[in-house]
C-alpha cells in the first residue's frame, strides 16, 4: 500500500508524511526514486550553450512597465490591507536584496555560533547556489575518513563522523563501485590516512593532501613524492582551483553547474571547506556552482591553495551532529568512500 502511494508520489512529483521513512526501508521504491533522479540529471546535464546576449527587456521597457503598474488603481482589498505594510516590506526587501548583493564579501560575523571558537560555519548566498563555508583554524585537526567497509560499500559522511567521534566533516575523494551491488566501496587514486597509505588505485586526478606541518598540497604527486613531503592525509580529486593564491580555472571550468565540495587553505593555515547545494533542491534558480564560482569564493575567503572535491549527490557537510549542507538527493545521504573529518579538540 505504502509502495503504491510512494511510487505515485514519486512520479507525480509530490511528497507525503512518512515518505522518507518508507524510502529508507524499501529498496524497490528507493530504486524507482533513483531512476527518476537519474532521468532528471541526464536531462538537465544536456549541454545548454550560454545565451549569446542578455535576454532582459531594455531599461526603457522596464521603466514603462513600472509606470503603468503605478497608474493602476489599488483594486485588490488585500493590497489595500497591506498598503501600510508595503513601505515596511519594501525596506525589508531592499535590505534583503542589498544583503544578497553584499555576498561578494565574506560575512564578518559567523552565521552559526559555535562553541568551538577555532571552527566557524558561515552562509553564502549566490545567484545560482547557496553554500556553507567552514573555517577550521588548525589544519592538523583534519583527517581523512575511509569507509570501514572498504572494498565492499561506502559509508555516509555522517556515519564516518560518528565512528571517528569527529566534530564534523565533508565528503572528499573519488570512488568506484565495488562489483555489481556495492556502492562507493573503493576509493580512487592515492588515499592516505594518519600517514598510512590506505589505497593506491590508478587515477589521473590530482592528489589533495595535508602534510605533517599542516600544509595543504594539491597536484599530481606519486606515493613516493607524497611520502617525501610527509603527507599525513590525502585523497584524490580535482581540478586544482587555486595555486599560490592564483585562480587556475579557465572560463567557467567546463563542468557546468552542480552541487560542489571543495577544500582550500589560507596563508595562516586555516582550512576552508565549501559545500554548495544545486539541482534545484532549494528552488528553481538553484542550479549549483561552477568550478569558477568555487574558485572565486575560495579566493574571497583568502585561499592560497584550493582544490575541488567530489560533488553532485555526494556533497555533504556535517558539523556538531547537524547536516549543515544536506545532499541534494531526496533519498538522503549518499555512501561515499572517503571524507575529510575534523578531529574533536
Amino acid at each position: 500500500m505504502t509502495c503504491n502511494k510512494t511510487l505515485q508520489a514519486i512520479w507525480a512529483g509530490t511528497t507525503f508524511d512518512g515518505m522518507e521513512a518508507h524510502l529508507e526501508t524499501c529498496p524497490s521504491c528507493r530504486g524507482a526514486m533513483e531512476s527518476i533522479e537519474r532521468l532528471t540529471s541526464e536531462l538537465m546535464e544536456q549541454n545548454v550553450p550560454a545565451p549569446s546576449r542578455s535576454l532582459l527587456p531594455s531599461r526603457d521597457v522596464i521603466r514603462k512597465a513600472i509606470r503603468q503598474q503605478h497608474k493602476k488603481p489599488w483594486r485588490r482589498t488585500s493590497f489595500i490591507a497591506t498598503a501600510v505594510l508595503v513601505t515596511a516590506s519594501c525596506i525589508a526587501g531592499v535590505a534583503t536584496i542589498w544583503k544578497g548583493n553584499q555576498t561578494n564579501q565574506p560575512p564578518s560575523t559567523p552565521a552559526t555560533a559555535t562553541k568551538d571558537a577555532s571552527i566557524t560555519v558561515q552562509d553564502y548566498h549566490g545567484k545560482t547556489f547557496s553554500a556553507k563555508i567552514m573555517l577550521v583554524s588548525d589544519p592538523k585537526r583534519i583527517h581523512v575518513g575511509v569507509t570501514k567497509y572498504a572494498g565492499k560499500v561506502g559509508q555516509t559522511v555522517s556515519d564516518m563522523v560518528r565512528d571517528a567521534r569527529a566534530d564534523g566533516g565533508v565528503n572528499a575523494g573519488a570512488f568506484n563501485n565495488a562489483g555489481e551491488n556495492g556502492t562507493a566501496g573503493i576509493p580512487l587514486g592515492i588515499t592516505i590516512q594518519h600517514g598510512q597509505v590506505v589505497d593506491s588505485q590508478p587515477n589521473n586526478q590530482p592528489e589533495i593532501g595535508i602534510t605533517a606541518a599542516g600544509q595543504l598540497l594539491c597536484g599530481a604527486y606519486t606515493v613516493a613524492e607524497l611520502k617525501a613531503r610527509h603527507v599525513q592525509e590525502a585523497v584524490s580529486f580535482g581540478p586544482v582551483l587555486v595555486n599560490d593564491g592564483q585562480g587556475l580555472i579557465q572560463g567557467d571550468g567546463g563542468w557546468g553547474n552542480a552541487p560542489r565540495t571543495a577544500i582550500g587553505q589560507r596563508a595562516d593555515g586555516t582550512i576552508i571547506f565549501i559545500v554548495t547545494d544545486g539541482r534545484f533542491r532549494n528552488g528553481w534558480n538553484d542550479v549549483g556552482a561552477t568550478l569558477k564560482d568555487i574558485q572565486n569564493l575560495m579566493l574571497q575567503y583568502g585561499a592560497v591553495t584550493a582544490a575541488n572535491l567530489d560533488g553532485g549527490s555526494s556533497s555533504t557537510m556535517i558539523y556538531q551532529g547537524k547536516l549543515e549542507m544536506p545532499p541534494v538527493n531526496l533519498s538522503g545521504e549518499r555512501q561515499v568512500a572517503t571524507a575529510f573529518l575534523i578531529e574533536a579538540e
Partner: protein, 170 residues
C-alpha cells in the same frame, strides 16, 4: 517571494534583479523545449518581456514559478504556430530500433524525447527538467491533471525498457 514581486512592480532595480534571477532558468527551459539556441533566446526574451509587463496580473493563485512557466509554454507554442509546424516537433526524428541498441543512457533519453508526441515531450520537460509536479504541469500547460497523469504514465512505460523502474502504480 510575494514581497519581492510587489517590490518589483514599483522599483526598477528590483524588477531587473527579479528578471535576472529567473533568466537562467527561463532560458534553460526554453532551450530544452526548442533544442535550438537562437529559438531558445527568442522564447526566453519574449517570456521575460511578458513577465515584466504583466507582473501586476500575477494573483498568487499558482506559484510564481508555475506562472512564469505558463508564459514560457505559451511563447513556445506561439513560435511553433508561427512556423506552421503545429503537429511536428522542432526536433529531427531519430530512428532508433530499440533502446537496448544504445548503451549511452543520455543518448537514449534524447532519442526518447525526440520520439514522443510533441505535447508528451513538453510534459516530460516540464515535469523532469523543470521539476514541476503533475498538478503544476497541468496548470502551466492548461491541461487537465488526469491528462498530464496519463502522459506521465505513458512516458514511464516507454522508459521501462532501459531504466529499472519498480512498481506498476501511477
Amino acid at each position: 517571494m510575494e514581497d519581492r514581486i510587489r517590490l518589483a512592480m514599483q522599483d526598477e532595480e528590483a524588477m531587473v534583479r527579479l528578471l535576472e534571477e529567473i533568466e537562467p532558468f527561463v532560458y534553460r527551459l526554453s532551450f530544452h523545449l526548442t533544442q535550438h539556441q537562437q529559438d531558445a533566446e527568442d522564447v526566453a526574451q519574449e517570456t521575460l518581456y511578458k513577465v515584466c509587463t504583466k507582473l501586476s496580473t500575477y494573483r498568487g493563485e499558482s506559484s510564481f514559478q508555475t506562472w512564469v512557466y505558463s508564459f514560457v509554454m505559451n511563447t513556445f507554442k506561439d513560435l511553433i504556430r508561427k512556423r506552421k509546424v503545429v503537429q511536428e516537433p522542432l526536433l529531427d526524428k531519430q530512428s532508433i530500433e530499440s533502446f537496448e541498441d544504445v548503451s549511452d543512457a543520455k543518448l537514449t533519453v534524447t532519442a526518447l524525447l525526440s520520439q514522443l508526441p510533441e505535447v508528451d515531450r513538453q510534459v516530460m520537460i516540464l515535469r523532469f527538467c523543470g521539476g514541476l509536479s503533475v498538478r503544476e504541469v497541468s496548470k502551466a500547460m492548461n491541461l487537465s491533471e488526469a491528462n498530464v497523469k496519463t502522459k506521465v504514465f505513458r512516458i514511464k512505460q516507454r522508459l521501462q525498457g532501459f531504466f529499472p523502474i519498480g512498481g506498476e502504480a501511477l
